[in-house]
Amino acid sequence: MAETKKALTDRIWDFFCSLKLAIIVVLLLALTSIIGTIILQNGSPADYVREYGQANYELFKKLQFTDMYHSTWFIGILALFGLNLTCCSIEKFPRVWKFVKEPILVAGSGIFKGSANRAEFSCKDSKQQVAEKLSTLLEKEFAKTTLTEKDGKFYIFAQKGIYSRFGAYLTHLSILIIMAGAVIGNIWGYKAFVNIVEGSSIDTVRTFNNNESINLDFTVRCDDFDVSYYPGGNRPKDYNSDLVILENGQEIIHKRIEVNDPLTYKGIKFYQSSYGPAGNAFFKVRVTENATGEVAELKAHQGKHVQLAGGYSFSVTNFAEDDRNFGPAIQLHVNSPDGKHGAPFVVWQNHPQLDSKRAGIFTFVLLGHDQPFYTGLQVAKDPGVNVVWAGCFLIVFGSLTAFFFSHKRIWICLQDDGKNTTVLLAGNAHRNQPGFSLAFDDLQQKIEATAKNQSPKKEG
């Protein structure tokens, strides 16, 4: 009973450690990810019904295809991926650690017979002399050596780049770190937005996901918003907002943010993301009452009546940036005190004298118009982002180590029969065998020449 139980847990463990599973999971992630790039994500029900029909929409909802990257099943595959990675690393790590703790100082005949890179020759010097010469040579040409004597034979061992064995582990660990960072961000962070009209302040923002209101424990004010365009068109070149952070009425930070340059305060970042008109444009008009010569400067919103002296009022009904090539103009009418509409007329900003020719009760001059804007900010708090960056840094480092370096080892065995010394030589690299073979051949020539007291050049 106890035995079968153990076998079962073993089997489960083996399942999660399996590399076959890793390849399947990775391919499964790749395949299922495609769905979300084809089917609209996070759209409104109406979008789906229009696009795919009611029946398909029901199906998509059931399969969680409408927000698939956050669906239970997709998160499940990601979790399986993480679990697989963790188990696999735990399982394989002791083997790699063994390379560090217990290098094979004394190579068995398996290594000398089975290595792809090996050689055997004999020479006249005693094994002590040869060992000394070869150790010096290897230290100069390859790496630090260890000499061991066993059963009357001398064994020389040298290795290089053992750290590269850890490259794969570092890579896998970084993936787990990145995933952990993402989880932290999802649990303790949020993504929100807020629109601030120029000149006003806010202290709450709304999340994208569920439109939930979040209280900041400070106030953000937008003093000014600007958008500039590239010459000769309406391609925006830059837009930026002057933001002020206030706490207890105190101005803490002033910053002009723009796209790609956010403001950060208390771990919360404010990104310039959009803008738009806030309310109607208003017009600045100078009105002269012709009878009295009295002058007033007034602000008028389009469509709203503005009071004038003596019970009269006026309303701007239309605006043109460029009216018949005369420049900006408004159309307006004056109401008499009993509420009767007067005839509409036009006032051009660039021709301030013209309206006096109309000879009405009031004379109007258009001084200018202004459009207040709101600035659209994305607000993000992500306490996991530095964890993600750390993981990203490590993954680059780890995969470079894993790919471009290899653990190289050289073994030599010296045995003498009183007259001659037999030299056995073997070498191994855990990656990039062809590259190592070339280096090994070169080293082998030098070793042979040194042992035989020849100069390597003559070997030819």
């Binding site: 590399l19 076959k20 890793a22 390849i23 990775v26 391919l27 992630l29 790749a30 990810s33 495609i34 979300g36 790039t37 084809i38 994500q41 990257y69 993402a182 993504k191 590239y230 391609r235 925006p236 070149k237 830059d238 837009y239 723009e258 796209v259 790609n260 340059d261 956010p262 970042k269 990104y271 310039q272 993301s273 994305q378 607000v379 993000a380 992500d382 982002v385 993600v388 960056w389 990203c392 993954i395 680059v396 995969s399 470079l400 790919f403 471009f404 062809p434």
Partner: protein, 286 residues
């Protein structure tokens, strides 16, 4: 001389190199191979100059708003060709397998032809979101990665063409004919792996720099938009390739097919997402 003319010269050089590589396979004449390699190198140097010149021209046209020539579809396709040549020339220097050129240069040549014949080449000012140094790092790393996969693809096609015949081929005599000119399948297999090994870390960097850019521009390093998702799909595919190779011994035919698939996914990530799916990326508007 403006950069457009230099790009024309580049295209001509790549065309000449490709024809010469074909001629080399047909004639087995080593001198032809050398001239073909020199033509590719010349094209590459001319293109490098042209890219620098276009960068300079952007300052003349846009004043202080000048930028590295890596911002629209035209510029990216041209840079793709340049990256392919860079990786190809490095591999050629290391392996000296001249016939590879016949299968890699057509990809670069086709890119250049497409860019010059049907893409919009004017130097336009950038919308605010694209005004970021991260964009430059992102494009360079991604495209060098793609180029590694492109070279791996060319080599894999050669492998798949050769392996069937080689298995049927009897005896110790070396294979004759055109396929006999191809490098030994063992070397092709190794080159496939090496090119992917160059491409994979670069793609990793490309995804990371893209995430950093998104973070500074929009506040989210990952939002599962189609372009991001497809780059992850490509990354997963090549990760599977590497694991299958290292630990399950998937070499040869299966590795070559995975490389072909991987490159198809890469092309889809690069072009398909914009031309077929819609997304947030800038190249869509090119």
């Amino acid at each position: 001389m403006d950069s457009g003319q230099l790009f024309n010269l580049t295209t001509i050089a790549y065309f000449a190199a490709m024809v010469l590589f074909f001629a080399y396979i047909a004639t087995k004449n080593k001198t032809v191979a050398l001239i073909a390699t020199l033509a590719s190198l010349a094209g590459f140097l001319i293109q490098t100059t042209a890219l620098g010149l276009r960068w300079y021209e952007s300052y003349q046209i846009l004043g202080a708003d000048g930028r590295a020539p890596l911002t629209n579809l035209y510029e990216s396709v041209v840079f793709f060709a340049w990256s392919i040549l860079l990786i190809y020339l490095l591999m050629d220097w290391k392996y000296k397998q001249r016939t590879i050129g016949a299968f890699v240069l057509p990809i670069a040549l086709f890119s250049m032809l497409w860019a010059q014949m049907s893409l919009h080449s004017s130097i336009d000012p950038l919308i605010p979101a694209l005004q970021s140094n991260w964009l430059t790092y992102h494009v360079i790393t991604c495209f060098l990665g793609y180029a590694g996969f492109a070279v791996a693809f060319g080599v894999s096609v050669m492998y798949l063409l050769k392996i069937g015949k080689e298995e049927k081929h009897q005896g110790d005599k070396p294979m004759g004919g055109i396929l006999g000119m191809f490098p030994p399948t063992k070397i092709l297999d190794d080159m496939n792996y090496k090119a992917i090994m160059i491409g994979f870390p670069l793609l990793t960097l490309g995804i990371i720099t893209g995430a950093a850019w998104a973070y500074y521009a929009w506040g989210t390093y990952w939002s599962w938009d189609p372009k991001e998702t497809w780059s992850l799909i490509v990354w997963f595919l090549y990760a599977a390739f590497l694991h299958a190779r290292f630990t399950r011994g998937w070499v040869g035919r299966r590795a070559a097919w995975l490389s072909v698939f991987g490159f198809a996914a890469t092309l889809f990530c690069y072009l398909g997402v914009n031309l077929v799916l819609s997304g947030l990326h800038s190249y869509g508007s090119g």
